[in-house]
């Protein structure tokens, strides 16, 4: 069985690379990009099953990237990561078509649980 492809998008290199390594340990085919500009190229070249996307990125809003990903391929599930949550954030995530959002720092088990749920939804 092929491993699920997970793409991590965050400008915090240390965070994204470490989380990527941990998800790899947990059996996901994980890669990371560190700028908004690189996301769409990566998505196009290697379509992920799930994207874990930082909501605030220099030069671009996570919501804009979310919309672009969904436009390119609506079947890609996106889990947003944010430094602080709010009602407004929840509403924007929902309207943008995100699967869910999580607060930083995330518990790895909660994240993998969310990834599994996203994959489950995708398979349906």
């Amino acid at each position: 069985m092929a491993r699920a492809k997970v793409l991590l998008v965050d400008d915090e290199v240390e965070f994204a690379s470490t989380l990527s390594e941990r998800l790899n340990i947990r059996g996901y085919d994980t890669s990371a990009v560190y700028s908004a500009d690189a996301v769409l190229n990566k998505v196009r070249s290697d379509i992920p099953d799930v994207v874990i996307l930082d909501l605030k990125m220099p030069g671009a809003s996570g919501l804009d990237i979310l919309k672009a990903i969904k436009q390119f391929n609506p079947s890609i599930e996106v889990i947003l990561l944010t430094g602080h949550g709010s009602e407004q954030c929840t509403a924007e995530c929902e309207s943008g078509g995100a699967f869910d959002y999580m607060m930083k720092p995330v518990e790895i088990d909660s994240l993998t649980e969310k990834i599994e749920m996203a994959l489950g939804k995708k398979q349906k």
């Binding site: 915090e12 240390e14 470490t18 941990r22 220099p58 990561l81 430094g83 602080h84 720092p105 995330v106």
Partner: protein, 589 residues
């Protein structure tokens, strides 16, 4: 117990903190202290005087008008009364003289020259006349040559010639004559009445002359109701006293008053004595005589009015009681009004404190959101690095790769340092919330504020251009409050500009004693009809839940209290520019 103690201590600190907000003079204005008490005492005095004036001024005006009116009425009444008395006395003297003249005329007309030229007959008439008019001194008949033809009286005047005397000529012409007073042989004042009797059968005339004691006229004058300092007398046309005067000279002396030209009607003149005492001089001519009746009255309407007022002790007591009651009522009203003002001011101060508290919480809320985001990133790195270390430890029984672990530990340390930088910056900001005036570097203050916002600026790709004048003089001001102001304005600018927008912050010296901070953005701008309201509390153009409408209002209040000024220029579609001007030395420093 320990937890409860810790919680109690924290609560106490919180209470002290909140209490310190309410006593910050820069926020609340005048606090309840000695100066405030002085202010309320001064206010009480002013209100007391104001109410007193409002009540007293009309009363004083009415009293003065009433006094003037009453004085005028009393003066009129007094003068009328005086005129009446003078007129009445004059009439009685007129009547007296008229009666004597008539009696003498009757004697002259009812008796023939022959009868009158008979000494015995004349003596009989004299006796009858004297019986009727007791004041008669003598009676004589003078022929047309001025020779005393017959005489009846105490002196030997028969044969005396009067042809060269003025009175003889006067009576010869006018038919009747009343003389001035003269002392006569007995050295008592007399006057003479003479009437002309025509003798047509002889083609000549004779004169019947009677001498009358002046005491009679004195008696007539005594009917005048004189007070102790008043006087009544008779003078002739030359001002020579014909009767004894109490204060203005003796008989046949010149009266010591400049007598104006007398008329038939009673005249009243207000004059002053040599010692300055005012008196009224009333005078009138006495008919059929060369005399003027004069009256001097020192009492006047004013003394009469004073007399009226002082005579009514009850009214004085009543006025005093009313004054005391009015003063007490005024004091009570003043105290009540001042209490209302004090309570209203306290409520206002509480509202201001509450408004500032709300505004501060809003600022802190926004700050907290930014800080949370900034801290969560390094925390997430720590979390992942520690998690990875745990994963590696659990995955293998082999000892972990030392180099990899050291790398992970270094990343954790670096992230902890990031967190520390953020928390220290935050603490520095929060600590200055309570700091009062100090010497500060305005450029540093602005830089610290911008550091808080650099992530948001970065994420939204906003170009934040700072042109801070290097040799800007240090100013004495409140750093914490200035940071709050700049945070509000720059936050507004961030909200106003689109992603990729430009915000420029610059500092410069303005004039000799001011510095100016200019915060310019290329946002949507503020419409002209809105710009006048932007410093009003609770006015916001941001959407619901996005702005409290307090930021600029509080900023305005802070800058004004720091002795500065804040203004804005804006063009819709081009952006806004806020100018904050601050004194290099703040007010009162």
């Amino acid at each position: 117990m320990l937890k409860a103690g810790i919680r109690g201590g924290m609560l106490d600190r919180l209470r002290r903190k909140v209490a310190s907000w309410s006593t910050m003079p820069a926020l609340t204005g005048p606090a309840e202290g000695p100066r405030s008490k002085d202010r309320y005492t001064s206010l009480k005095t002013r209100i007391f005087l104001l109410i007193g004036s409002l009540v007293c001024i009309p009363i004083v005006i009415i009293t003065v008008i009433s006094y003037v009116w009453l004085q005028s009425a009393l003066k009129e009444d007094f003068n009328n009364q005086l005129r009446g008395n003078i007129e009445s006395t004059r009439q009685s003297i007129d009547f007296f003289i008229e009666e004597r003249i008539s009696a003498l005329r009757f004697l002259a007309s009812s008796n023939s020259f022959g009868q009158l030229s008979d000494d015995k007959y004349l003596n009989d008439i004299f006796i009858k006349f004297k019986r009727e008019f007791g004041e008669l001194v003598d009676l004589g008949l003078i022929d047309s040559n001025g020779v005393q033809f017959t005489y009846s009286g105490p002196y030997d005047l028969k044969g005396k010639i009067y042809s060269n005397q003025d009175w003889f000529n006067a009576v010869a012409v006018r038919g009747v004559y009343v003389s001035d007073v003269f002392m006569g042989y007995r050295k008592i004042p007399h006057f003479a009445i003479a009437v002309k009797k025509e003798l047509p059968e002889k083609g000549t005339f004779c004169i019947l002359r009677a001498t009358i004691d002046m005491a009679t006229l004195n008696r007539s004058l005594s009917t005048f109701n004189l007070k102790s300092k008043d006087d009544a007398f008779i003078i002739n046309g030359d001002g020579i006293l014909q009767t004894q005067s109490r204060f203005h000279g003796n008989v046949l002396e010149r009266v010591n008053i400049d007598v104006p030209h007398a008329k038939d009607a009673v005249s009243l003149h207000e004059l002053r004595q040599n010692d300055g005492t005012p008196f009224i001089f009333g005078f009138t001519t006495i008919r059929n005589s060369p005399w003027i009746m004069g009256v001097t009255v020192t009492s006047n309407a004013q003394s009469k009015l004073l007399g009226l007022l002082t005579s009514d002790i009850t009214a004085i007591y009543l006025a005093l009681v009313l004054m005391v009651l009015g003063t007490v009522a005024n004091m009570r009203i003043t105290a009540t009004v001042v209490n209302w003002i004090r309570e209203a001011e306290l409520e206002r101060e509480e509202a201001i404190v509450q408004t500032h508290h709300t505004g501060r919480l809003a600022s802190i809320g926004r700050l907290a959101a930014g800080v949370a985001h900034e801290i969560n990133n390094p925390l997430a790195i720590i979390n992942e690095k520690a998690g990875l270390m745990k994963d590696l430890m659990l995955m293998s029984d082999e000892p972990p790769d030392k180099e990899k672990f050291l790398g992970l530990i270094k990343a954790i340390s670096d992230s902890v340092n990031r967190c520390r930088t953020i928390t220290h910056r935050l603490l520095g900001f929060a600590r200055r919330m309570d700091v009062q005036h100090e010497e500060i570097d305005l450029n540093d203050t602005i830089r610290e504020v911008i550091e808080f916002l650099d992530k948001e600026v970065l994420y939204r790709n906003i170009k934040l251009d700072t042109r801070l004048k290097e040799d800007l003089p240090r100013i004495v001001s409140d750093k914490g409050q200035l940071q709050q102001v700049f945070l509000n304005i720059i936050n507004n600018a961030i909200d106003a500009v689109p992603d990729g927008g430009v915000i420029a912050v610059s500092t410069e010296v303005k004039g000799r004693d001011m510095v100016r901070v200019t915060i310019m953005d290329n946002g949507q701008g503020i419409p002209k009809d809105t710009i006048k309201n932007i410093f009003e509390p609770f006015y916001t153009t941001k959407g619901k839940g996005k702005g409290t409408g307090l930021g600029l209002s509080i900023s305005y209040g802070i800058i004004k209290r720091l002795g500065g000024d804040i203004s804005v220029e804006s063009e819709v579609g081009e952006g806004s520019t806020f100018y904050v001007e601050l004194p290099i030395r703040t007010v009162g420093q």
